[in-house]
């Protein structure tokens, strides 16, 4: 595989992903498109993975707390987690941009960003409320997002 982006690849990134490629792009890490592609596809999977968890929670609320508005709660939770995930993606995107701009082949800024996101995840109000929650002590929401971060970090910084 070529170590530099082809003009078509640069064009694709600029046109379809809205990423302005600096002149130093040619010095940036190899397989940028592929890596960005992975970030996009991996992040696209998150809503589906979380949906399973949210559905489980909704059914628990329906069963154990029938007086509660389970659907309304699920909708609010889904929105909150979507916001959380897209916020993270945006930060990773920015970090990728920084790495590319800096011509950092190791994507150090991505690693730093992901580390920060892990802290953010650990202290996020929704995630804290979900952790060891008596309503659904076995929920995997934090683990789902955390795994996605791990995979993205591994893919982008390899």
């Amino acid at each position: 595989m070529a170590s530099e982006l082809t003009p078509d690849q640069v064009n694709f990134l600029t046109r379809y992903l809205g990423i302005k490629m600096p002149d130093t792009a040619k010095n940036a890490g190899s397989g940028l498109v592929k890596k960005r592609g992975f970030l996009i596809s991996r992040w696209q999977k998150i809503p589906g993975e979380l949906a399973v968890e949210i559905d489980t929670l909704e059914s628990i609320v329906l069963k154990d707390l029938p007086h509660e508005d389970a659907a309304g709660f699920a909708k609010a939770l889904r929105q909150a987690l979507d916001d959380l995930a897209s916020g993270m993606k945006s930060k990773i995107d920015s970090a990728v941009d920084v790495a590319v701009n800096l011509g950092d082949p190791n994507y150090g800024s991505v690693a730093t960003a992901i580390s920060g996101l892990r802290n953010e995840l650990a202290t996020d109000a929704v995630i804290v409320a979900l952790r060891n929650n008596a309503l659904a002590p076995e929920n995997n929401i934090e683990a789902t997002i955390s795994s996605a971060l791990d995979e993205v970090e591994a893919a982008l910084t390899s």
């Binding site: 609320v61 707390l65 007086h67 709660f73 929650n133 008596a134």
Partner: protein, 743 residues
Amino acid sequence: MLEKIKALFERAKKGDPVLARFKGRLMMCKSKLQAVEGSKEEVMKPAEDEARALCKEIEEAQAFAASSGKKAQEGFNLLAKSVNHKPVGLGSLLIKEVDKVEKQELSPEVIERNKRYLDGDELKDGIVANDLHALRKGDLKSIKQTFRDLDGKTSLSKIQITEIREEIVKTVLMVPDCCRELAKNPKLCGEMIAMAQGMGMLTPGILKSLGDQTEDVACSIVFQRSSVKLDQKVSSGGGKGFSEADLNEWLIDIIPKDTWNDKKTGLGARVINNLWNAGDFDLLCTLITKDVDPSLPFSLPLVTSRGTQEGVWSGFVQPVEHLLGNYVKLVAQFKKDPKQFDPEMQKKLAGAQKVLETLDEQGTNILTDFDEIMKCEAIAAFKKQPGTVWGFEDVRLPYVQAARESKKGDEPLRMIELWTAIEEVLKEEGYDRLLIDPDKTIPEIVATGVAGAKEKTAEKKKEYEGADLDEFLKNFEEQATAYLTHLANQIPKGQYETAEQSGMDMGKLMGGLACNAGLWWALENKKPVYYCLDGLNMDEALDYKAFKNARIKAHFEGGPKHAEVITLGEIREILKNWSSMKDIVFFIERGSVMKDVSRVEKWIETMKRNDEEAGKRPAPVSTTFKPKLDDIGVEGLWEAIEDHPYEAMKVTVKFVTLEKRVAKMANLDILPLYLEKKCQFLIDFKIIPANMAEVCKDYLEKVKRNDGTESQSDMNAVIKALPESLQAEISGWRVRVDKFAEL
């Protein structure tokens, strides 16, 4: 119901974490109940229904708070908060309700009304004109609201409130059209007329204008007036209007005998109780002579807490005939030397003497003369063979006092006298300690009991008058030890884990079980049981199962738990086991020992027939017991039992007793005995092997012949086949049996 709501409200005020959220609603409910108290059933019903619904909601909230659901709700609330979702949960619902009620308490209408009443500090003229106008047009709401507002929050002084009330009473009652309209609310109308009488304003014309509602209004008046202290009645009478005697005569004339003695409204029983407490003994006696039944109790619907008046107990108003039992000996002492009592007591005892004489003249179920009791056949029998005295508490009291005076009674004569030793084992922790380690527990409990008895006898000197207290305490120690030893060697009956789920009030259930155990202890010790039947309606005892079933069913539909009537439970225990009990039980009627035992045989037959008709005890939905049934761990059990609530309840009770108590008992023979005698439900649902009963019987027989070790292997084999969930407890029993065998 009012008492229950009051008690809940008090707890709410003290900050009970669950009840605090209901404070406002409880206060509203209390006011509503107070407003209709003493009215006819249909008037009271809406307020009582509302109170019942509130109690149900509170019970649910309490159950919820105690359940895993609470944690789930807390988890949900946390999560909901994090995603900005507002929980609908019980808490927020209640908060909404409380907000609503708080607003009601500070209703702008009340504020507006108060402004309307006053012109500066003076009351405005014609303040009730609007209400009167509305009333004339058939609208009762306005006057009712005004009258009620004066009970609630107002900025008016007590004097102003009295003035307004008087103004209302004067204005409304003097207008026949209004009076007739007002009579459509008999409770309110009765209240106003009772007040008018207190103000010396009542006239025959007012009473004549009541129309079709005259009887209902009369019931309300008599109830209102019955709780007015006698001295206030006297001071308030003598105006232009009716005298108190005229009013009483009118009331007695208007209210038919059946209405007085209606068990559902309990008018007679409640009025008589009020009159006793108000000191109006003359009117009380007059009512008795006019056939108001002094032997009738009144079950206070849904009330489980004790009232504040003498003769009002947990859940019922005591018949005056029973209450007077407390005064039989005192009246005898009073007759001999009145001055030994303080003036207040002298008045009361003079009243009691009058009531006892009236009861005697009219024919009563009780002996009213203490000297007669001292000389009666029952006390003669007691002197020959001392034993314990049973029956309704106050009815048997003169017999206990007479027995005590016989110089053969220096010992606890009633289970209640052993209570300081018994109460500890009615609690789960004490009961379990007794079963598991009786050798250590009994002396500890007895020591505490003796100390308690010492205090009690010092407190109630009059009751133990003439008794040798050292001898009494010595006998107390012996009896308490024997009783607890007996209890430690019986199949356990404490159902702490399941009683309330099954609709039973735990306190009364355990009290009843303790008393029934007392009968068996007496049998074991060949101690006579003198059972006083005076004042006891045998039909009620014989039909008690149907009554109990109805109460439990009502509980599952939102009513309170069933509180056992201990005396009726004792009678049934005796009748059910008459073949053994006949050796020690002597039924006493008006001081005579009942000799015609064929009557007992008839009672037994009737009871059996009634019990069959009453059918199975109602049970809650099977899912109530599902968690425990699942814990048993027998495959297919839930599927087999889920459509059989009664069986689900019985299996749970039997299994829990086996697991929590029987398997842990120091008396190693109880486990095989329990498995043999009490586990048919567990066999039916294949929780224990079908041959278990037989193997246990065989084992016990061999144990009796000192040959237990031989059948231990058979027992071990069937025990291994018990559900896994029981193995840990049963293995403890096996280890203990093995150790015992080695010895």
